[in-house]
């Protein structure tokens, strides 16, 4: 039919068009990041297998040094096994994060979608984000916990609330940018309904920054959990969390540094790993 026949679908591009996320995780940065994050996550998931003790079992053996028989990482002031408290603490943090970050992301995205409907709504949503950002987070944490009572719920809510503007702003920008892209126009001209244009075309292309943000948000979540524990409005004791163990260890920082070491190293590994992954993702996506 046409005058030109092409050599069948061109030459295969040398760099296989791998999915950027997979490529990011396969990069050197991504691998180191995973190597730091995965063990922590695994430790949390496998806590019941790794712990050997109940994290709440107390004994007379206060502040035993690491390497004490039966207590690999030593014990805390109430004679609880620090390894058990660490892995269960990770587990608790993971539980909170797994709930809070997606919740915040979801709400943020919903607001962003709402903002995409009309400029007036957009302004309102933007101001609402401003308001959330303007509120001093820890004061809010104190108030929310006072209202709801202590436990996981206020921690989850405070973290989620802190994440809403982050995700919302990102996605809003993404939608605004992608909406003007030619492929979106092409989809509209191609007869796709506004909803389909949004869900099938714009959203998939606007989510990349969100994936990076998730890595950042996880860091923030650990941060907030710790601060709330320190202010005494964290997860209900005696449930260990990284932040709770850390704040319990503060009086003994000079005399029994091993008490704080576990959670500190864990949090550092987590944050370093996540930031490396975020960076790797960023690089691949921008490419």
């Amino acid at each position: 039919m046409t005058a030109i026949t092409l050599p069948a679908p061109g030459k295969p591009a040398r760099r296989s068009p791998r999915h950027p996320y997979r490529a990011a995780l396969a990069s050197a940065r991504g691998r180191v990041g995973l190597a730091l994050v995965l063990p922590v996550v695994l430790a949390g998931v496998l806590a019941p297998l790794l712990a050997g003790h109940s994290p709440t079992d107390q004994s007379d053996l206060s502040l035993a040094a690491p390497g004490t028989p039966g207590h690999l990482l030593g014990t805390d002031d109430l004679g609880r096994d620090l390894l058990a408290r660490l892995v269960y603490g990770i587990r608790a943090d993971l539980g909170i994060i797994a709930l809070a970050v997606p919740l915040g992301a979801l709400l943020g995205c919903l607001f962003a979608l709402l903002a995409a409907t009309h400029p007036a709504v957009d302004t309102a949503v933007q101001r609402a984000f401003d308001l959330v950002l303007a509120f001093p987070g820890l004061i809010l944490a104190l108030a929310v916990t006072a209202i709801l009572g202590p436990g996981r719920l206020p921690v989850v809510l405070v973290i989620a609330l802190a994440e809403i503007p982050a995700f919302g702003r990102l996605l809003r920008t993404g939608i605004l940018v992608e909406r003007e892209r030619e492929y979106a126009t092409a989809a509209r001209v191609g007869g796709a309904s506004p909803a389909r244009v949004l869900t099938r075309h714009i959203l998939p292309n606007a989510v990349d920054p969100l994936v990076v943000q998730i890595a950042v948000s996880l860091t923030v979540a650990v941060f907030i959990e710790g601060a709330m524990s320190f202010l005494g409005v964290g997860v209900r004791p005696p449930q260990p969390t990284l932040g709770a163990v850390l704040s319990q260890s503060m009086p003994y920082l000079a005399d029994a540094p091993h008490f704080a070491a576990g959670p500190l190293i864990t949090v550092t590994a987590l944050v370093l790993g996540l930031s490396l992954i975020a960076e790797a993702l960023n690089r691949e996506i921008r490419r």
Partner: protein
Amino acid sequence: MGIRLLRRLPSALLVLLVASFVIFSILRLVPGDPATSLAGPDAGPETVAAIRDRLGLDEPLPLQYVHWIGGLLTGDLGPSYAIGGQTADLIGDGLGATVELTLGALLFVVVLGTAFGVLGATARRGWVRATVRVLTTGALAVPPFVTGVLLVLLFAVVLKVLPSGGRVSVLTAPDLGVQYLLLPALCLALPSAAILGRYLKDGIERALAEDYVRTATAAGVHPRRLLWRHALPNALPPVVTLLGMQTGHLLGGAVLVEAIFAWPGLGQLAEQGLTRRDYPVVQDLLLLLVTVFVLVQLITDLVHAWLDPRIRWE
């Protein structure tokens, strides 16, 4: 520029109005009662009732709200319920301390953030970049309450070169004041400096890859000048926005740091006010913080426009 400000004003006022409402409601939702807190541990119900009456806590909530806002508008913040003294004085004292702390921290954020960003983006030696990365990660990963305690242990207890806490106003005794300010400001600044550094590093890397840097390189401009004169000014506007946001975080994060360093600022006042259900103090304080945040956003906007001539002329 004035027009930009004017245009943002109505929505800023709206934010404040909504904020006042939210603040008021949240406080009333918090259980506990300023009167019981005020009456003391072994007071009888009649004492509590008398105090409630005196504080006007039995008035309908909308009326209390109106009174509060009315007081604000007429500049009369009234007495504090539980802490003692006039709310305006309490907040005034705390504000001075917190502003000092925040500015000190901001200085650290800018200096450290710039160092982190510039070194991270341009250092030729791998170990320099690795060190910067470890430092920034550490600053982000170690919670401020741990950093704070560690800093105190190191500088105040072991080395004995800086005080462990407390405050002397930098204005009344600059040499002493600075020594009191150093540790809390550093502790408060570290996470923000790390974030800023990361953004700046990104921005510089991106700017260095831009065509105009290539143009300047081709013209024989020295790499150092490329960085400071060509790349950095372009990396700044988003960083300024971030800095604006971080100022909000610094104000909010002061709660922790002020506690650790016994810094008598707004964070401590807020926590104290909230624990003792001192409604006027907490209400006014939170609204003040929101106002400051909104103002900082406005300023950020102006600085942004000033830094980026494209916006300036729009």
